[in-house]
């Protein structure tokens, strides 16, 4: 139901006071102030600090402590229900649209906390673009799909807008295929083309970060390959974060990996993270090792 999407805009006041946050003492290791300290490394683009999400009584994700590096591709991996999509959607506060969602801890974007009252969600979402699991172009022309976001933010007008649309379509590797049919309805494109259009649409509002929620799961292998190629071409200009079920995909495209698991209460937990090569060759945790070897999950 679309209407659900507009219910709760109260996430800002749903933030639990940092002082009220509870954590196991041994994990905090006597450094309670450090757990929520903003990232100091300028190379860190997004920093999760003791971050957790609840939907009503259900704890979806907790105690996530993770830094995401600027200009690289980071993959969130793990089995279904491990909270990786929830974590991804926390970065542009898309979870706000779920009325029962409550948050704890903090997410820092370029050192600034985003789960505080008074954050400009419109500006946040302009900075953090998103591509969804199923291609979801608007039922409008190809041009209009890309131009809409730029127009909403008042970025370009007239001929400059046209040039901007061309640039974004070219950046998404779609320009040559659609340059003669910009007025054609976007729904008439193939699934892979639609997904690249959605990427162009996201790029059109000039974001710094691109979130991709299993962007290839509805696509065939050839279309998947093209999206992966495109993702590699987007770094280091953009910071890309991708959620994927596909271990091979994570290995192929990502520079850094974060591996999530579901604990006994069906709550998502971050198991380990690091450079992709390191994680795949020498996983520290047994669960990571078994998952990557395809022995569970």
């Amino acid at each position: 139901m679309v209407s659900e999407a507009f219910r709760g805009w109260r996430a800002g006041d749903g933030v639990v006071d940092p002082a009220g946050h509870t954590m196991a003492a041994e994990e905090v290791a006597g450094a309670e102030t450090d757990v929520l300290a903003p990232p100091t490394d300028p190379e860190v683009c997004v920093g999760f600090r003791a971050f957790g999400v609840r939907y009503g009584d259900f704890e979806a994700l907790k105690e996530v402590q993770l830094d995401i590096r600027r200009g690289h591709i980071t993959a969130f991996m793990g089995p279904s229900g491990c909270g990786k999509s929830t974590l991804l959607r926390s970065i542009n506060r898309m979870n706000d649209t779920i009325p029962s969602a409550r948050f704890t801890g903090q997410v820092y974007l370029d050192g600034e906390p985003i789960y505080v009252p008074g954050v400009n969600i419109i500006r946040l979402r302009k900075r953090v673009g998103m591509v969804f699991q199923k291609p979801n172009p608007f039922p409008a022309s190809i041009f209009e799909n890309v131009a809409w976001g730029a127009r909403v933010h008042g970025l370009y007008k007239g001929h400059a807008l046209f040039e901007h649309v061309e640039k974004c379509l070219a950046r998404a590797g779609l320009w040559d295929e659609v340059k003669d049919k910009l007025k054609l309805n976007a729904m008439s494109l193939s699934g892979g083309q639609q997904q690249r259009l959605c990427i162009a649409r996201a790029l059109a509002v000039e974001p710094e970060i691109l979130l991709m929620d299993e962007p290839c799961s509805a696509l065939d292998p050839i279309a998947t390959y093209r999206i992966e190629e495109l993702m590699r071409s987007l770094v280091p200009d953009y910071t890309v974060i991708i959620v994927t079920h596909n271990i091979q995909q994570a290995a192929r495209v990502s520079d850094y990996c974060a591996f999530f698991w579901v604990d006994e209460n069906r709550c998502g937990r971050l198991v380990e993270s690091g450079p992709t090569a390191q994680l795949f060759e020498a996983p520290k945790d047994e669960r990571t090792e078994r998952y990557l070897a395809g022995r569970m999950g």
Binding site: S3, E4, A5, F6, G129, F132, W148, M187
Partner: protein, 318 residues
């Protein structure tokens, strides 16, 4: 062609008695619906034949309706039907669409559902009840509004005439209230049926809630909304009782909203029982025929419009 060319044949369908019987019954049902529609057209044409041959195309553009002199022109009625329906849509579409958006996107659904149900109940109120309410409540209120407007802007042709409440404006208002539930409830359902992914895509681009509604949401739902408006127009064109009670029933064409008018369905209701002459009856039947053709044309046009937007949107491909 080489000798090895393959021959393609269509397999003979298996004979299944129960399927054949079911097909026949269904075909009979479908045929009777089409048959009734054709019969309606034929009977009306036959009944209207004397008037058709006497007045020809002049019937549609003639402005005089004089049963005594047996001179009949239908233009005032055609104008009255179209003008009152148009006026009704002019008022009902913005209000209905606004209500639909509010119910679908702003109110929480536990509150919106009962309200939507009550709006749908409005569609079930018999039109004579609307008519009575119109005569006793709406017309006096409209008279006061007309007086107020007339004093200030009476020199504008649109607002000239006696501020008595009865007239084209009252007909438009009553019709607007009557078609409002169609527009509101169908539009609400069309907006609720838009995939959540559409709204998410817009919100993720940094659009505000209002930009999201105005843009992708309404665009996606426009086919359904258009359908609701067409249904409302169909109801307004054919509505008889309530309009007859408030429009004044004077066969004239006036640009003023305050003047009385007459509609096709109203003249049928008022005069058919008392029509004596052969030509008078035939003229009334011809009005019925014109009304039928007009409604069919409006619906066909709306169908084309909906198909057009659907084909444009390429929604069949999904």
């Amino acid at each position: 062609m080489s000798a090895g060319e393959a021959v393609y044949v269509r397999p003979r369908p298996a004979f299944v008695l129960s399927d054949r019987v079911a097909n026949s019954i269904l075909a009979a049902g479908a045929a009777s619906v089409v048959g009734l529609a054709v019969l309606l057209g034929v009977v009306l044409s036959l009944g209207a034949a004397p008037a058709l041959s006497k007045f020809g195309a002049g019937f549609l553009v003639g402005k005089t309706w004089d049963p005594v002199a047996e001179h009949f022109g239908a233009l005032p009625f055609i104008y009255g039907t179209l003008a009152s329906s148009f006026l009704a849509l002019l008022m009902a579409v913005p209000v209905g669409l606004g209500a639909a958006i509010f119910l679908a996107e702003v109110l929480p659904q536990w509150l919106a559902r009962p309200i939507a149900f009550m709006i749908e109940l409005l569609a079930a109120v018999p039109s004579v009840v609307y008519g009575m309410w119109g005569v006793f409540v709406a017309v006096p209120a409209i008279a006061r509004v007309e007086e107020f407007i007339g004093q200030r802007w009476g020199h504008i042709p649109l607002f000239s005439g006696p501020p008595i409440g009865i007239g084209m404006l009252a007909a438009g208002v009553i019709l607007a209230i009557m078609v409002l539930p169609f527009i509101a409830s169908i539009s609400r359902e069309a907006i609720l049926a838009v995939p959540r992914a559409q709204a998410e895509a817009a919100l993720a681009l940094g659009a505000t809630k209002w930009e999201t509604i105005r843009g992708p949401l309404l665009r996606y739902a426009r086919k359904g909304i258009l359908g609701g408006i067409v249904l409302a127009l169909g109801r307004a064109l054919g509505e008889t009782m309530a309009v007859t009670m408030v429009i004044g029933n004077v066969p004239q064409i006036s640009v003023s909203l305050f003047q009385s008018g007459y509609t096709m369905s109203a003249v049928l209701a008022n005069e058919f029982a008392e029509a004596t002459g052969r030509i008078h009856t035939a003229a009334l039947v011809e009005i019925a025929l014109v009304l039928l053709v007009l409604t069919v044309l409006v619906n066909a046009f709306a169908r084309l419009l909906i198909w057009g937007t659907a084909a444009h949107a390429g929604e069949e491909r999904v």
